[in-house]
Protein backbone atom coordinates (compact mmCIF):
# COMPACT_ATOMS: atom_id res chain seq x y z
CA UNK A 1 0.00 0.00 0.00
CA UNK A 2 1.29 3.43 -0.79
CA UNK A 3 1.04 6.00 1.91
CA UNK A 4 -0.78 9.25 1.39
CA UNK A 5 2.12 11.66 1.29
CA UNK A 6 4.16 9.47 -1.00
CA UNK A 7 1.54 9.75 -3.73
CA UNK A 8 1.45 13.50 -3.90
CA UNK A 9 5.20 13.72 -3.96
CA UNK A 10 5.04 12.39 -7.49
CA UNK A 11 3.33 15.59 -8.55
CA UNK A 12 6.04 17.87 -7.36
CA UNK A 13 8.83 16.67 -9.56
CA UNK A 14 7.35 17.16 -13.01
CA UNK A 15 5.60 20.38 -12.07
CA UNK A 16 8.79 21.88 -10.72
CA UNK A 17 10.62 20.93 -13.86
CA UNK A 18 8.06 22.48 -16.13
CA UNK A 19 7.75 25.67 -14.18
CA UNK A 20 11.53 25.99 -14.08
CA UNK A 21 11.49 25.71 -17.82
CA UNK A 22 8.86 28.37 -18.01
CA UNK A 23 10.47 30.67 -15.56
CA UNK A 24 13.94 30.78 -16.99
CA UNK A 25 12.82 31.91 -20.42
CA UNK A 26 11.38 35.22 -21.40
CA UNK A 27 8.03 35.70 -23.04
CA UNK A 28 8.01 36.34 -26.79
CA UNK A 29 8.96 39.91 -27.66
CA UNK A 30 6.80 42.60 -29.24
CA UNK A 31 6.38 43.16 -32.97
CA UNK A 32 9.48 43.43 -35.03
CA UNK A 33 9.97 44.90 -38.47
CA UNK A 34 9.66 41.85 -40.67
CA UNK A 35 6.16 40.54 -41.11
CA UNK A 36 5.10 37.88 -41.72
CA UNK A 37 7.84 35.55 -40.54
CA UNK A 38 5.64 32.54 -40.00
CA UNK A 39 2.49 31.21 -41.66
CA UNK A 40 -0.67 33.23 -41.32
CA UNK A 41 -3.84 31.41 -40.29
CA UNK A 42 -6.99 32.22 -42.23
CA UNK A 43 -9.99 31.19 -40.17
CA UNK A 44 -12.99 30.21 -42.27
CA UNK A 45 -16.32 29.95 -40.48
CA UNK A 46 -17.73 27.35 -42.84
CA UNK A 47 -17.25 23.66 -43.50
CA UNK A 48 -14.48 22.43 -45.77
CA UNK A 49 -15.58 21.94 -49.35
CA UNK A 50 -18.16 24.72 -49.37
CA UNK A 51 -18.06 27.94 -51.37
CA UNK A 52 -16.34 29.97 -48.67
CA UNK A 53 -13.75 27.28 -48.06
CA UNK A 54 -12.92 26.79 -51.73
CA UNK A 55 -12.52 30.55 -52.11
CA UNK A 56 -10.20 30.73 -49.11
CA UNK A 57 -8.04 27.89 -50.37
CA UNK A 58 -7.82 29.33 -53.85
CA UNK A 59 -6.82 32.69 -52.39
CA UNK A 60 -4.23 31.08 -50.14
CA UNK A 61 -2.77 29.24 -53.10
CA UNK A 62 -2.63 32.38 -55.20
CA UNK A 63 -1.01 34.36 -52.38
CA UNK A 64 1.83 31.88 -52.10
CA UNK A 65 3.87 33.94 -54.53
CA UNK A 66 2.83 37.37 -53.32
CA UNK A 67 3.26 37.07 -49.56
CA UNK A 68 6.50 35.92 -47.94
CA UNK A 69 4.74 33.32 -45.82
CA UNK A 70 1.95 30.89 -46.73
CA UNK A 71 -1.64 31.33 -45.61
CA UNK A 72 -3.05 28.27 -43.86
CA UNK A 73 -6.80 27.69 -43.87
CA UNK A 74 -8.46 26.62 -40.63
CA UNK A 75 -12.16 25.68 -40.62
CA UNK A 76 -14.36 26.54 -37.67
CA UNK A 77 -17.90 26.19 -38.85
CA UNK A 78 -20.89 27.25 -36.81
CA UNK A 79 -23.70 29.74 -36.45
CA UNK A 80 -23.46 31.07 -39.99
CA UNK A 81 -19.82 32.02 -39.56
CA UNK A 82 -20.20 34.00 -36.35
CA UNK A 83 -18.47 31.30 -34.33
CA UNK A 84 -15.28 31.97 -36.26
CA UNK A 85 -15.65 35.69 -35.62
CA UNK A 86 -15.94 35.06 -31.89
CA UNK A 87 -12.82 32.91 -32.02
CA UNK A 88 -10.78 35.44 -33.94
CA UNK A 89 -11.77 38.18 -31.50
CA UNK A 90 -9.81 36.35 -28.84
CA UNK A 91 -6.69 35.87 -30.87
CA UNK A 92 -3.70 38.18 -30.45
CA UNK A 93 -3.95 41.08 -32.87
CA UNK A 94 -0.54 40.42 -34.36
CA UNK A 95 -1.54 39.85 -37.96
CA UNK A 96 -1.02 36.09 -37.81
CA UNK A 97 -4.71 35.33 -37.55
CA UNK A 98 -7.10 36.60 -40.18
CA UNK A 99 -10.76 35.92 -40.75
CA UNK A 100 -12.88 35.14 -43.78
CA UNK A 101 -16.06 37.15 -43.95
CA UNK A 102 -18.97 37.74 -46.30
CA UNK A 103 -22.19 39.68 -46.13
CA UNK A 104 -23.91 36.90 -44.25
CA UNK A 105 -21.29 36.23 -41.63
CA UNK A 106 -20.35 39.85 -40.94
CA UNK A 107 -23.64 41.72 -41.25
CA UNK A 108 -26.80 39.73 -41.79
CA UNK A 109 -26.39 36.80 -39.43
CA UNK A 110 -25.09 38.85 -36.49
CA UNK A 111 -28.05 41.20 -36.80
CA UNK A 112 -30.66 38.46 -37.13
CA UNK A 113 -29.24 36.29 -34.39
CA UNK A 114 -29.02 39.27 -32.08
CA UNK A 115 -25.28 39.02 -31.72
CA UNK A 116 -24.37 42.46 -32.92
CA UNK A 117 -21.13 42.12 -30.97
CA UNK A 118 -19.93 39.84 -33.75
CA UNK A 119 -20.63 42.23 -36.56
CA UNK A 120 -18.06 43.56 -39.02
CA UNK A 121 -17.16 46.47 -36.79
CA UNK A 122 -15.95 44.14 -34.06
CA UNK A 123 -13.05 43.26 -36.35
CA UNK A 124 -10.69 45.14 -38.60
CA UNK A 125 -11.64 45.06 -42.31
CA UNK A 126 -8.58 44.23 -44.40
CA UNK A 127 -9.73 43.76 -47.99
CA UNK A 128 -12.72 42.87 -50.07
CA UNK A 129 -11.57 40.36 -52.63
CA UNK A 130 -14.27 39.33 -55.02
CA UNK A 131 -17.92 38.81 -55.50
CA UNK A 132 -20.34 36.52 -57.21
CA UNK A 133 -23.63 37.55 -58.64
CA UNK A 134 -26.84 36.21 -57.24
CA UNK A 135 -29.07 34.63 -59.84
CA UNK A 136 -32.59 33.31 -59.83
CA UNK A 137 -33.06 29.96 -61.58
CA UNK A 138 -36.01 28.03 -62.94
CA UNK A 139 -36.25 24.52 -64.30
CA UNK A 140 -36.75 24.33 -68.08
CA UNK A 141 -39.96 22.36 -67.68
CA UNK A 142 -41.63 24.68 -65.21
CA UNK A 143 -44.72 26.64 -66.13
CA UNK A 144 -42.97 30.01 -65.77
CA UNK A 145 -40.30 31.25 -68.12
CA UNK A 146 -39.48 34.77 -67.00
CA UNK A 147 -39.25 36.69 -63.78
CA UNK A 148 -42.32 38.69 -64.78
CA UNK A 149 -44.39 35.51 -64.97
CA UNK A 150 -43.08 34.44 -61.59
CA UNK A 151 -43.97 37.72 -59.94
CA UNK A 152 -47.38 37.75 -61.57
CA UNK A 153 -48.10 34.25 -60.36
CA UNK A 154 -46.90 35.09 -56.87
CA UNK A 155 -49.12 38.14 -56.70
CA UNK A 156 -52.16 36.15 -57.68
CA UNK A 157 -51.32 33.15 -55.50
CA UNK A 158 -49.80 34.34 -52.25
CA UNK A 159 -47.90 31.65 -50.38
CA UNK A 160 -48.01 29.22 -53.29
CA UNK A 161 -44.60 29.86 -54.75
CA UNK A 162 -41.55 28.26 -53.15
CA UNK A 163 -37.97 29.47 -53.46
CA UNK A 164 -35.01 27.47 -52.22
CA UNK A 165 -31.65 28.83 -51.10
CA UNK A 166 -29.10 28.67 -48.33
CA UNK A 167 -29.69 29.44 -44.66
CA UNK A 168 -31.53 32.51 -43.43
CA UNK A 169 -28.95 35.13 -42.61
CA UNK A 170 -27.08 34.57 -45.84
CA UNK A 171 -27.18 36.63 -48.98
CA UNK A 172 -29.46 34.17 -50.81
CA UNK A 173 -32.21 34.63 -48.27
CA UNK A 174 -31.90 38.39 -48.43
CA UNK A 175 -32.30 38.51 -52.16
CA UNK A 176 -35.70 36.93 -51.72
CA UNK A 177 -36.62 38.98 -48.67
CA UNK A 178 -35.77 42.16 -50.52
CA UNK A 179 -37.66 41.01 -53.59
CA UNK A 180 -40.73 40.21 -51.52
CA UNK A 181 -40.71 43.71 -50.13
CA UNK A 182 -39.93 45.49 -53.39
CA UNK A 183 -42.42 43.60 -55.54
CA UNK A 184 -45.00 43.22 -52.83
CA UNK A 185 -45.30 39.47 -53.20
CA UNK A 186 -45.68 36.67 -50.70
CA UNK A 187 -43.46 33.74 -51.59
CA UNK A 188 -42.22 31.01 -49.27
CA UNK A 189 -38.48 30.91 -48.75
CA UNK A 190 -37.26 27.40 -47.93
CA UNK A 191 -33.79 27.58 -46.34
CA UNK A 192 -31.35 24.69 -46.73
CA UNK A 193 -27.98 23.89 -45.20
CA UNK A 194 -26.16 25.43 -48.08
CA UNK A 195 -26.40 25.87 -51.82
CA UNK A 196 -25.82 22.20 -52.52
CA UNK A 197 -28.84 20.74 -50.72
CA UNK A 198 -30.95 23.61 -52.06
CA UNK A 199 -29.93 22.77 -55.62
CA UNK A 200 -30.63 19.09 -55.07
CA UNK A 201 -34.10 19.82 -53.79
CA UNK A 202 -34.73 22.24 -56.62
CA UNK A 203 -33.63 19.74 -59.25
CA UNK A 204 -35.96 17.22 -57.67
CA UNK A 205 -38.91 19.52 -58.14
CA UNK A 206 -39.54 20.28 -54.50
CA UNK A 207 -39.17 24.03 -54.79
CA UNK A 208 -40.12 26.17 -57.76
CA UNK A 209 -37.19 28.56 -57.96
CA UNK A 210 -33.59 28.57 -56.78
CA UNK A 211 -31.50 31.53 -55.71
CA UNK A 212 -27.75 31.21 -55.73
CA UNK A 213 -24.43 31.66 -57.49
CA UNK A 214 -23.45 30.33 -60.83
CA UNK A 215 -20.25 28.69 -59.62
CA UNK A 216 -22.03 26.08 -57.56
CA UNK A 217 -24.48 25.32 -60.32
CA UNK A 218 -22.42 25.71 -63.47
CA UNK A 219 -22.57 22.12 -64.54
CA UNK A 220 -26.31 21.91 -64.21
CA UNK A 221 -26.77 25.14 -66.11
CA UNK A 222 -24.68 23.76 -68.91
CA UNK A 223 -26.68 20.57 -68.86
CA UNK A 224 -29.79 22.70 -69.24
CA UNK A 225 -31.29 21.42 -66.04
CA UNK A 226 -31.70 24.93 -64.74
CA UNK A 227 -31.89 28.31 -66.43
CA UNK A 228 -31.09 31.71 -64.94
CA UNK A 229 -33.93 34.16 -65.36
CA UNK A 230 -32.80 37.20 -63.42
CA UNK A 231 -29.80 38.60 -61.58
CA UNK A 232 -29.62 40.80 -58.48
CA UNK A 233 -26.98 43.22 -59.75
CA UNK A 234 -26.60 46.79 -60.88
CA UNK A 235 -25.96 45.89 -64.50
CA UNK A 236 -26.63 42.88 -66.65
CA UNK A 237 -24.21 40.05 -66.13
CA UNK A 238 -21.66 38.86 -68.63
CA UNK A 239 -22.40 35.28 -67.66
CA UNK A 240 -26.01 35.21 -68.76
CA UNK A 241 -28.02 37.85 -70.53
CA UNK A 242 -30.94 38.01 -68.19
CA UNK A 243 -32.67 41.09 -66.82
CA UNK A 244 -31.57 42.60 -63.55
CA UNK A 245 -34.18 42.93 -60.87
CA UNK A 246 -33.38 46.61 -60.78
CA UNK A 247 -34.27 47.22 -64.40
CA UNK A 248 -37.59 45.53 -63.74
CA UNK A 249 -38.30 48.14 -61.16
CA UNK A 250 -37.39 46.24 -58.00
CA UNK A 251 -34.44 47.68 -56.16
CA UNK A 252 -32.73 44.43 -55.20
CA UNK A 253 -28.99 44.66 -55.60
CA UNK A 254 -27.07 42.09 -53.59
CA UNK A 255 -23.69 40.66 -54.37
CA UNK A 256 -22.18 37.68 -52.61
CA UNK A 257 -18.95 39.50 -51.81
CA UNK A 258 -16.14 37.88 -49.85
CA UNK A 259 -13.38 39.52 -47.90
CA UNK A 260 -10.72 39.23 -45.26
CA UNK A 261 -10.73 40.66 -41.75
CA UNK A 262 -8.34 40.76 -38.81
CA UNK A 263 -8.76 41.17 -35.05
CA UNK A 264 -9.27 44.72 -33.92
CA UNK A 265 -6.04 46.40 -33.00
CA UNK A 266 -3.90 44.66 -35.58
CA UNK A 267 -1.09 47.10 -36.38
CA UNK A 268 -1.99 49.18 -39.47
CA UNK A 269 1.32 48.41 -41.21
CA UNK A 270 0.57 44.70 -41.04
CA UNK A 271 -2.95 45.27 -42.33
CA UNK A 272 -1.44 47.18 -45.21
CA UNK A 273 1.10 44.45 -45.93
CA UNK A 274 -1.69 41.90 -46.07
CA UNK A 275 -3.85 44.08 -48.22
CA UNK A 276 -1.12 44.71 -50.75
CA UNK A 277 -0.05 41.09 -50.83
CA UNK A 278 -3.62 39.94 -51.43
CA UNK A 279 -4.14 42.54 -54.11
CA UNK A 280 -1.11 41.25 -55.96
CA UNK A 281 -2.45 37.73 -55.61
CA UNK A 282 -5.44 38.70 -57.72
CA UNK A 283 -3.12 39.12 -60.68
CA UNK A 284 -1.58 35.67 -60.50
CA UNK A 285 -2.41 33.03 -63.07
CA UNK A 286 -3.57 30.76 -60.30
CA UNK A 287 -6.22 33.27 -59.23
CA UNK A 288 -7.20 34.10 -62.77
CA UNK A 289 -7.89 30.44 -63.41
CA UNK A 290 -10.06 30.24 -60.34
CA UNK A 291 -11.85 33.40 -61.26
CA UNK A 292 -12.75 32.08 -64.69
CA UNK A 293 -13.86 28.80 -63.33
CA UNK A 294 -16.03 30.31 -60.60
CA UNK A 295 -17.33 33.06 -62.87
CA UNK A 296 -16.65 35.57 -60.17
CA UNK A 297 -15.67 39.21 -60.44
CA UNK A 298 -12.74 40.78 -58.63
CA UNK A 299 -14.01 43.53 -56.38
CA UNK A 300 -10.89 44.60 -54.60
CA UNK A 301 -11.19 47.24 -51.91
CA UNK A 302 -8.43 48.31 -49.54
CA UNK A 303 -8.97 48.62 -45.80
CA UNK A 304 -10.39 52.13 -45.69
CA UNK A 305 -12.71 51.70 -48.66
CA UNK A 306 -13.82 48.32 -47.40
CA UNK A 307 -14.79 49.88 -44.08
CA UNK A 308 -16.86 52.53 -45.84
CA UNK A 309 -18.52 49.88 -47.97
CA UNK A 310 -19.39 47.77 -44.94
CA UNK A 311 -20.97 50.70 -43.15
CA UNK A 312 -23.07 51.42 -46.22
CA UNK A 313 -24.12 47.78 -46.50
CA UNK A 314 -25.22 47.72 -42.91
CA UNK A 315 -27.09 50.93 -43.52
CA UNK A 316 -28.99 49.18 -46.29
CA UNK A 317 -29.82 46.01 -44.43
CA UNK A 318 -30.31 47.22 -40.91
CA UNK A 319 -33.66 48.91 -41.48
CA UNK A 320 -34.83 46.02 -43.65
CA UNK A 321 -34.11 43.55 -40.89
CA UNK A 322 -35.93 45.67 -38.38
CA UNK A 323 -38.94 46.12 -40.63
CA UNK A 324 -39.21 42.44 -41.23
CA UNK A 325 -39.27 42.00 -37.51
CA UNK A 326 -36.26 39.73 -37.52
Amino acid sequence: MRCHGHRWAYLVGPLLALSFLAGCQMLPGASKEAYPTRPVTLVVGFAPGGGADVFARALAEAAKTTLPQPIVVENRAGAGGTTSTAYVLERPADGYTILFGHAGSTILTPLISKSANLKWDAVEPVTRIHGEEEFLFLRPDSQWKTIDEVVKFAKENPGKFRVGGSAVGGVDSFVILALKKAAGIDVTYVPFDGGGPAALSFLGGNVDMLVGNVSENMANIEAKKMMPIAVASEKRSSIADVPTLKEKGWDVVLVQWRGIFAPKGTPPERVRTLSEGLQKALNTDSWKGFRTQSQSVDLFLGPADFRTFLAAEEGRFGPMIQELGL
Partner: protein, 175 residues
Protein backbone atom coordinates in the same frame (compact mmCIF):
# COMPACT_ATOMS: atom_id res chain seq x y z
CA UNK B 1 -45.60 -6.34 -4.10
CA UNK B 2 -42.54 -4.57 -2.76
CA UNK B 3 -43.28 -1.26 -1.19
CA UNK B 4 -40.78 1.45 -1.87
CA UNK B 5 -40.18 4.67 0.00
CA UNK B 6 -42.13 7.63 -1.33
CA UNK B 7 -39.17 9.85 -1.97
CA UNK B 8 -37.52 7.44 -4.38
CA UNK B 9 -35.11 8.33 -7.16
CA UNK B 10 -37.92 7.83 -9.65
CA UNK B 11 -40.00 10.50 -7.93
CA UNK B 12 -37.13 12.95 -7.92
CA UNK B 13 -36.33 12.33 -11.55
CA UNK B 14 -39.99 12.56 -12.50
CA UNK B 15 -40.28 15.92 -10.82
CA UNK B 16 -37.04 17.04 -12.43
CA UNK B 17 -38.39 16.12 -15.86
CA UNK B 18 -41.52 18.16 -15.23
CA UNK B 19 -39.38 21.09 -14.17
CA UNK B 20 -37.24 20.79 -17.30
CA UNK B 21 -40.32 20.69 -19.50
CA UNK B 22 -41.81 23.76 -17.88
CA UNK B 23 -38.48 25.54 -18.11
CA UNK B 24 -38.21 24.84 -21.82
CA UNK B 25 -41.70 26.11 -22.53
CA UNK B 26 -41.11 29.34 -20.68
CA UNK B 27 -37.67 29.93 -22.16
CA UNK B 28 -38.98 29.54 -25.68
CA UNK B 29 -42.07 31.65 -25.27
CA UNK B 30 -40.35 34.82 -26.42
CA UNK B 31 -39.92 33.55 -29.95
CA UNK B 32 -42.39 34.11 -32.76
CA UNK B 33 -45.05 31.54 -33.40
CA UNK B 34 -45.33 29.68 -36.67
CA UNK B 35 -46.56 31.01 -39.98
CA UNK B 36 -48.90 29.51 -42.55
CA UNK B 37 -46.13 27.79 -44.44
CA UNK B 38 -44.07 26.93 -41.37
CA UNK B 39 -46.68 26.07 -38.75
CA UNK B 40 -44.18 24.82 -36.21
CA UNK B 41 -42.05 27.92 -36.29
CA UNK B 42 -39.05 28.25 -34.02
CA UNK B 43 -41.21 27.45 -31.01
CA UNK B 44 -43.04 24.36 -32.17
CA UNK B 45 -40.53 21.57 -31.89
CA UNK B 46 -39.14 22.41 -28.45
CA UNK B 47 -42.63 23.06 -27.10
CA UNK B 48 -43.87 19.71 -28.40
CA UNK B 49 -40.93 17.90 -26.88
CA UNK B 50 -41.36 19.76 -23.61
CA UNK B 51 -44.96 18.59 -23.35
CA UNK B 52 -43.91 15.00 -23.92
CA UNK B 53 -41.23 15.38 -21.25
CA UNK B 54 -43.78 16.76 -18.79
CA UNK B 55 -46.04 13.83 -19.59
CA UNK B 56 -43.27 11.32 -19.01
CA UNK B 57 -42.35 13.08 -15.79
CA UNK B 58 -45.94 12.73 -14.61
CA UNK B 59 -45.88 9.05 -15.51
CA UNK B 60 -42.71 8.51 -13.50
CA UNK B 61 -44.11 10.42 -10.53
CA UNK B 62 -47.30 8.39 -10.73
CA UNK B 63 -45.36 5.14 -10.86
CA UNK B 64 -43.25 6.23 -7.92
CA UNK B 65 -46.29 7.14 -5.84
CA UNK B 66 -48.19 4.02 -6.82
CA UNK B 67 -45.29 1.78 -5.99
CA UNK B 68 -44.91 3.50 -2.63
CA UNK B 69 -48.52 2.68 -1.91
CA UNK B 70 -47.74 -0.81 -3.09
CA UNK B 71 -50.00 -0.99 -6.12
CA UNK B 72 -47.42 -1.53 -8.88
CA UNK B 73 -43.78 -2.52 -9.06
CA UNK B 74 -41.48 0.46 -9.44
CA UNK B 75 -40.00 1.35 -12.80
CA UNK B 76 -36.82 -0.62 -13.33
CA UNK B 77 -34.09 1.11 -11.42
CA UNK B 78 -31.23 -1.05 -12.61
CA UNK B 79 -28.40 1.24 -13.50
CA UNK B 80 -27.38 1.07 -17.13
CA UNK B 81 -23.80 0.15 -16.37
CA UNK B 82 -22.22 -2.44 -18.48
CA UNK B 83 -19.94 -4.93 -16.93
CA UNK B 84 -20.43 -6.88 -13.78
CA UNK B 85 -21.53 -4.74 -10.86
CA UNK B 86 -19.83 -7.04 -8.40
CA UNK B 87 -16.36 -6.46 -9.69
CA UNK B 88 -16.66 -2.72 -9.20
CA UNK B 89 -16.18 -1.25 -5.78
CA UNK B 90 -18.47 0.97 -3.81
CA UNK B 91 -18.85 4.62 -4.64
CA UNK B 92 -16.07 6.84 -3.43
CA UNK B 93 -17.59 10.30 -3.41
CA UNK B 94 -14.22 11.90 -2.83
CA UNK B 95 -12.78 10.47 -6.00
CA UNK B 96 -15.83 11.37 -8.01
CA UNK B 97 -15.86 14.99 -6.87
CA UNK B 98 -12.10 15.14 -7.20
CA UNK B 99 -12.29 13.86 -10.73
CA UNK B 100 -14.94 16.37 -11.72
CA UNK B 101 -13.15 19.30 -10.12
CA UNK B 102 -9.83 18.32 -11.69
CA UNK B 103 -11.48 18.04 -15.09
CA UNK B 104 -13.13 21.42 -14.71
CA UNK B 105 -9.80 22.96 -13.74
CA UNK B 106 -8.19 21.33 -16.77
CA UNK B 107 -10.76 22.75 -19.15
CA UNK B 108 -10.40 26.21 -17.66
CA UNK B 109 -6.61 26.22 -17.60
CA UNK B 110 -6.08 24.53 -20.96
CA UNK B 111 -5.74 27.68 -23.00
CA UNK B 112 -3.98 30.06 -20.63
CA UNK B 113 -1.47 27.55 -19.27
CA UNK B 114 -0.84 25.82 -22.56
CA UNK B 115 -1.46 22.27 -23.60
CA UNK B 116 1.61 20.47 -22.35
CA UNK B 117 1.65 21.81 -18.81
CA UNK B 118 -2.05 21.56 -18.16
CA UNK B 119 -2.38 18.05 -19.55
CA UNK B 120 0.64 16.85 -17.59
CA UNK B 121 -0.72 18.36 -14.37
CA UNK B 122 -4.20 16.95 -15.07
CA UNK B 123 -2.86 13.45 -15.61
CA UNK B 124 -0.77 13.68 -12.46
CA UNK B 125 -3.77 14.74 -10.37
CA UNK B 126 -6.01 12.04 -11.81
CA UNK B 127 -3.50 9.29 -11.20
CA UNK B 128 -2.91 10.52 -7.68
CA UNK B 129 -6.66 10.50 -7.04
CA UNK B 130 -6.83 6.87 -8.04
CA UNK B 131 -4.13 5.73 -5.70
CA UNK B 132 -0.96 6.41 -7.60
CA UNK B 133 1.16 4.09 -9.69
CA UNK B 134 4.86 3.17 -9.57
CA UNK B 135 7.34 5.86 -10.53
CA UNK B 136 8.32 4.72 -14.01
CA UNK B 137 4.86 4.35 -15.53
CA UNK B 138 3.88 7.59 -13.82
CA UNK B 139 6.66 9.63 -15.35
CA UNK B 140 6.26 7.95 -18.71
CA UNK B 141 2.57 8.79 -18.77
CA UNK B 142 2.66 12.28 -17.34
CA UNK B 143 5.41 13.37 -19.69
CA UNK B 144 4.93 11.03 -22.58
CA UNK B 145 1.20 11.15 -23.10
CA UNK B 146 0.75 14.92 -23.50
CA UNK B 147 3.80 15.01 -25.72
CA UNK B 148 2.51 12.21 -27.95
CA UNK B 149 -0.91 13.80 -28.23
CA UNK B 150 0.70 17.13 -28.99
CA UNK B 151 2.79 15.54 -31.72
CA UNK B 152 -0.19 13.71 -33.17
CA UNK B 153 -2.60 16.59 -33.13
CA UNK B 154 -0.43 19.64 -33.62
CA UNK B 155 2.50 18.43 -35.65
CA UNK B 156 1.20 15.47 -37.61
CA UNK B 157 -2.33 16.63 -38.20
CA UNK B 158 -1.70 20.33 -38.01
CA UNK B 159 -4.46 21.00 -35.52
CA UNK B 160 -2.97 23.75 -33.41
CA UNK B 161 -3.06 23.14 -29.69
CA UNK B 162 -2.95 26.07 -27.31
CA UNK B 163 0.56 27.31 -26.87
CA UNK B 164 0.21 28.98 -23.53
CA UNK B 165 3.28 30.67 -22.28
CA UNK B 166 5.54 27.66 -22.31
CA UNK B 167 5.26 26.34 -25.81
CA UNK B 168 5.54 29.83 -27.17
CA UNK B 169 9.15 29.56 -26.19
CA UNK B 170 9.92 26.02 -27.23
CA UNK B 171 8.04 25.54 -30.44
CA UNK B 172 7.81 28.90 -32.08
CA UNK B 173 10.71 31.05 -33.15
CA UNK B 174 10.60 34.48 -31.56
CA UNK B 175 8.83 36.84 -34.01
Amino acid sequence: MNRRPLVSPDLVVGLALIAVGVGVVSAISGLPAGTVSDPLGPRGFPTLLAFVVILLGLVLVALAVLSAIGLVPGAALKPDWQGDADSQGALSVGRLIGGIVASAAYVVLLQPAGYLISTAAYLAVLVALQGGVPRLPFIATVFGFPLSLFILFALVLGVPMPAGFVEGLIFREAP
